[in-house]
Symmetry: C2
Subunit: 694 residues, 2 copies
Amino acid sequence: MDILVAILTLSAAVIAILFAVFTARSVMKFSEGNDLMKKISASIRKGANAYLKRQYVIVGIFFAVMFVLLSVMALFELLTPYVPFAFLTGGFFSAFSGFIGMKIATASNARTANACQEGLNRGLRVAFRAGSVMGFTVVGLGLLDISVWFILLKFVFGLKPADITGAMLTFGMGASSMALFARVGGGIFTKAADVGADLVGKVEAGIPEDDPRNPAVIADNVGDNVGDVAGMGADLYESYVGSVISAMALGVAAFHNIQSMALPMLIAALGVVCSIIGTFFVSTKEGATQKQLLRALSRGTNFSAIVIAVAAFPLVWFILGKENWPMYFAILAGLVAGVLIGQSTEYFTSDSYKPTRNLAATSETGTATIIIGGLSVGMLSTLLPIVIVSVCVLVAYFVSGGADSASQGLYGIALAAVGMLSTLGITLATDAYGPIADNAGGIAEMAGLDKKVRERTDALDSLGNTTAATGKGFAIGSAALTALALMASYIDKVQTIDGGKAAIANLSITNPTVLVGLFIGACLPFVFAALTMNSVGRAAQSVVKEVRRQFREIVGLMDGKAEADYATCVDLCTKASLREMILPTIVAVIVPIIVGMILGCTGVVGMLAGATASGFLMAVFMSNSGGAWDNAKKYIESGVHGGKGSENHKAAVVGDTVGDPFKDTSGPSINILIKLLSMVSIVFAALVVGFSIL
Amino acid sequence: MDILVAILTLSAAVIAILFAVFTARSVMKFSEGNDLMKKISASIRKGANAYLKRQYVIVGIFFAVMFVLLSVMALFELLTPYVPFAFLTGGFFSAFSGFIGMKIATASNARTANACQEGLNRGLRVAFRAGSVMGFTVVGLGLLDISVWFILLKFVFGLKPADITGAMLTFGMGASSMALFARVGGGIFTKAADVGADLVGKVEAGIPEDDPRNPAVIADNVGDNVGDVAGMGADLYESYVGSVISAMALGVAAFHNIQSMALPMLIAALGVVCSIIGTFFVSTKEGATQKQLLRALSRGTNFSAIVIAVAAFPLVWFILGKENWPMYFAILAGLVAGVLIGQSTEYFTSDSYKPTRNLAATSETGTATIIIGGLSVGMLSTLLPIVIVSVCVLVAYFVSGGADSASQGLYGIALAAVGMLSTLGITLATDAYGPIADNAGGIAEMAGLDKKVRERTDALDSLGNTTAATGKGFAIGSAALTALALMASYIDKVQTIDGGKAAIANLSITNPTVLVGLFIGACLPFVFAALTMNSVGRAAQSVVKEVRRQFREIVGLMDGKAEADYATCVDLCTKASLREMILPTIVAVIVPIIVGMILGCTGVVGMLAGATASGFLMAVFMSNSGGAWDNAKKYIESGVHGGKGSENHKAAVVGDTVGDPFKDTSGPSINILIKLLSMVSIVFAALVVGFSIL
C-alpha cells in the first residue's frame, strides 16, 4: 500500500515535470521576432536574472543562518536531525519553482508578441503554454519534494508516521520563508518600477506607457517577471506543499495510519493528471472573440475540476474505507469554495458588474471620493469570501465526523484545502499567462510593432485579469484553510512534545494568553501591510529621482537620439527591493518565537487564529480594492465618464496607483505571512514548550 | 453596606449633575456678542435641534419595536420583566447626555467667539466650562441611571445580585444602540456637510472656509454639534455605563457578594469627585502661550488621575478585603494604559513628531503617495495600542488572581476598564471643548470679526486636537476592555441560563463554531466601515448637488447681495444622515442574533472575540490615519512643503477628505459596534440557548 502510494505520487510528479519540459520545448520553437524584439527580451531576461541571482545570495545567507540554528536545536534534541535538511529543500524547491517560471516567462514574452503579429489565437497559445510550464513545474516540484522525502523517511530511515509528517512540515517552513522573500522582494521591485515609470514618464514627461525613452521601462518589465511570475511561483509552491503536508500530518493525528496520510498525496497526484488533460481542452478556432477565448480557458479549468470532483469519490472510498466516505464532501467543499471565492472576487473587481462601475462613477466628484469608494468596495468585499470559507470549514469539519472526533474534523478542513488546490496545475497556468501577455505588450510597444499587435496583447492581458481573479480566489481561500490546518498541526505537535500535559490544556478563547495572542496575531497583517507599503514608497521614490536625473542629464533622450540607461534603473530597483524585503520577513520569523517565549503555546495558538482571521480579511480587502481601482481606471479609459485624459481619469489613475502596492505587494504577501507564522511556530514548538515564561 | 454604597453613588451622581448645572449657568452669563453673532448661533441651534428632534422620532420607532419584542420575550420568560424598562432608560439617558451636550455647545459657540475678542484665556475659560458641562452631565447621568436602578432592583424588588446585574446589562444595550444611532447619524451629517461645503465652496467656487455665501456653511456648523458633540456624548455615556455594569456583573460572578459589585460603582463615584477637583486646576494667567494653555489643561487631567490612583488603593483594600488588594493594580493598569494609548495616538497623529511630518513630505510626490503613506501610518499605529492593551489585560488578569480563578481574572479586566474611564468627567471636558472652539471659529468668520479672533479660536481648536487624541485613547482602549468584560458576562449569563450545560462547554479556539464565529466577527468592522463610508459618500453627493444648484440659481449670491438658503442644506443633511444611519445599526443588532441562531453560543463568543480584536484594530487604524492626514495638511498650511495653495497642499487636502469619514464616522462608530454586539448577545442569550441550530 505505502509503496504504491509513493510510486503513484512520484510518477505524477515526474509526469508533471515531463509535461512542463515538453511544453517548454514547444514554446521555444516559436520565433522571438526581429532583432529589436530579441534585444529587448534579452535586456529583460538579463535584468530578471541579475535580480534573482542577488536575491538568492541574500536569501542564501538567511537560509545558512537558519540551517545552523536548526542544526544546533537538533543537537540539543529539540528537533529531529532531518529538520534542517527538510528546511533547506523546501526553500530550494520554492525558489526553483519561481526561477523556472521566470525563465520560461522571459523566454516567451517576445515569442508571444511575435505570435500576436500572426493572430490573437496564436498569441494565446504561446502565452498559455508558457503559463502551463509554470503551473506544472510548481505542482511537479511540489509532489517531487513530498514523495522523495516520504520515500526517504519511510523506507530509508524507517520513521513512524508521526515523525515523518513532523519532519516534512519543516520543509513547509523553508518553502514559506522563501516564498515570502520572493513575494515581498518581487512585489516591491515591480511596484517601485511601475510607480516610478508612471509618475515621471506618463505624468511628468507626458510620454506613453512602455515608451522606450523612459529609463524605467525595462525595470518595469523586469518587475512583471520577478514579482508577478517568480514571486507567484514561489508563493503557490508554498501553498500547494503546505496544504498537502498539513493534511498528511492531521491525517496521522486523526487516524494514526498510513492511509489517511496517503490520501492528500493521492488527491494531489490525481489533480495533476486531471489538470494535464484539462490543458488539451484549451483551444479555439482562428478569429475567436474574446468571449470565446475566455470560454476556451474556462473549459480547461472546469473540465479538470469536474473530473477531479468525480474521481475523488472512489479514491476516498477506497483509501479511507466506506465508513469514512463522507470525507469526500470535505474535498468537494474546498473545490466549490475556491470557485465561489473567485466569482466573488470577479464580481467586486470586474467592470462588468456594479461595484467597479459605481466606483468609476465616483471619479466624477474627484480623487477623494474614488479613494473612499475603492476602500469601501474592498472592505465590503470581505463579507462573501468569509461566509464561503466559514461554510466550507463547517461542512468539512462536520462531514468528517468532527462532532465526535475533533481531530477527524480538522483533517477534513485540511482535505478541503487540498481539494481547493488540486487543480492548481491548470488554474496557475491560466493565472501566470497574464504577466507574460503584459510583457509581450511592452515589447510590442518598445519594438514599434503594429498597433494591432498591442491591441491583441491587451486583449490577452485583460482576459488574464478575469482568470487571475479566479486564481486569487484559490490562493486566498486555500491560505485560510491551510493556516487553520497548520494551527491544528501545531497543537498536535505540542501535545506530542509534552505528552498532552499543561502546555496547551486551556485553549479557551477566554484564557487571557489566548486572547492576547489573538490581539497580537490580528495586528500582524496590519503592521505587515504598513511595512510593505512603506517599502514600495521608499523604493519608488529612489526610482523617481533616478528617472528625473536621466531625463535631465542625458542629452537627446527625449528626441530619441540617445538611449536611456536602463541598467541603472534595474539595478536601483534590485538594490532597493532586496534591502526592503528583509525587515518584513524577519518580523514574520521572529514574532511567533517571541510571542511563544512570552505567552506560551496557548498564546501562539491565539496568535495564529488572530493572524488567520485578520490576514484573510486584509488580503481580500487589499487585493479587491486594488483590483477594483485598476479596472475602474480601465473602464474610464474605455470612454465613459470623460475617458482617457479627463479629470475623472486622473482621479482614477491616483486610485490605481494606491491600489498597486495593495494588490501586488501587501495583499498577496499576507497570504504567505499567515502560513509562515504557523510553520515557524511548529518548528520552534519544542523551544516554546520548554522555555516559555507564561 | 449596600445602602451606603447606593447613597454614595447617588450622591456622586447628584454632585456631578449639580456641578454641570452651575457650570452651565456660569457659561450663560457670558455675552453672545453682537446681533449677527446671535443670529448665526440661533440658526445653528435651530438646525441642530431640528436634526435631533427628527433623529429621536426614528430612534423612538426602533426603541418602541424593541420594547415590544423584549416584552414578548419577557412574557415567554426568556427575560425578566425589568429588562424592557431597563433597555428604555439606557437609551433615554444616552440620548439625554447627547442632547444636553449639544444644548450647551450651541449655547456657548457664540459666547466663546465673543470671549475670544477679549482674550485667548477668556475664550478658553468659556469653551472649557462648556466642555465640563458635557463631561459631568455624561458621568452624572450615567451614575444616576446605575444607582437608581441598583436601588430599585435591590431594595424595592429585592432581587439577588446576579439578577440585578442581569437586568442592568440591558440598559447597556439601550445605551449602546442609542449611541450607535447618534454616532453614525451625526457622523454622516457632519462629514456630508463638511465634504459638500468644501468640495463646492472651497474647491469649485474658490471661496474661503466658513464663508457666509456658502449655502452649506450652517449645515457644516450644525454637523459639528450633532456629530462631534451629541454623538460623542451618547457614545461616552454608553462606554462609561457599559464598563461599570460589566464590572459589576463580573464581580458578582467571581465573588457572589455585594462588595465586588459595589467596587466599580464606588470607583466611578470617586472619579467624579476627583474630576471635579481637577477642573479647578485648569486656569492660567492672561497672555499665556499655547504651551502654557496645554499645561493648564494637562494639570487638571493629571491631577485627577493621580488623586484617583492614590485614593483607589484604600478603597479596594477596604471593599474587597486585604486578601484581594492586588486588584488595585488592575485599576491602575487601566488608568496607565489609557494614558499610554493617548500618547501613542498623539505620536502618530501630531505634527510635532516624525510620522505626520514624513507623511506631509510624501505630498511632494503627489496624491497617491500621501494616500498610501496615510494608510500605512494608520496601520502601523495599531501595534503600540495593541501591545499596551495586551499588557494591561495580562496584568489585570493575573494580579486579580486569574491564575487560580478565571472569573476573578476577568473581573480584573473589567476593573481596568472602569479605572481607565474613572476620570471621564474631566477628560471628556477637555475633549468636548474642541468642537465648541471650532464652531466659535465659524461664527467669527461668518460674523466678520477681527482676524485675531479667528486666530485665537484656531489656537483653541488646535489645542483641542491634542487633548482629543488623549480622549480617543481612553475611548478606544476602554471599548476593547469593556468588550472583553462583556464577552465574559455573556458566557456567565449563558452558564446561568442553561445551568452550566452543553451550550458553552467547548470554547476552545479549535472548535469550528468558535473559529467560524471569530471569522464572521472579525469581518463585521470591515463591513461596518464600508457601509458608513458609503453612506457619507452618498449623503455628501446630495449636498454637493444642492450647493451647486444654489450657486447657479440664486442671483446675487456670490456678490453677497442675496442670502443663501441654509435651511435646505441642513434639511438635506438631516434627511440623508437619518436615512443612512438605519442600515448599519440594524446590521449590528441583527447579526449577533443570526450568528447565535446558527452557530450557537460558542459561535457568539467567537464572534465577540473576533469583532473586538479586528474592531479595535480598525478603529485605531482609521482614527489615526484620519488624524495624521488632517494634521499633515495643517502642517503644510503652516508653510512647509510649499504651503497653502501649492500642489502639495492640494494632495494633502485629498488625504484629509479621505480621512474625514475615517476618523469622524467609521472609526468611532466601530468602538460602539463591538460593545453593542456583546450587549445584544447578552439580552438574546436565552433565545440562542433554547433554539440555536448548531
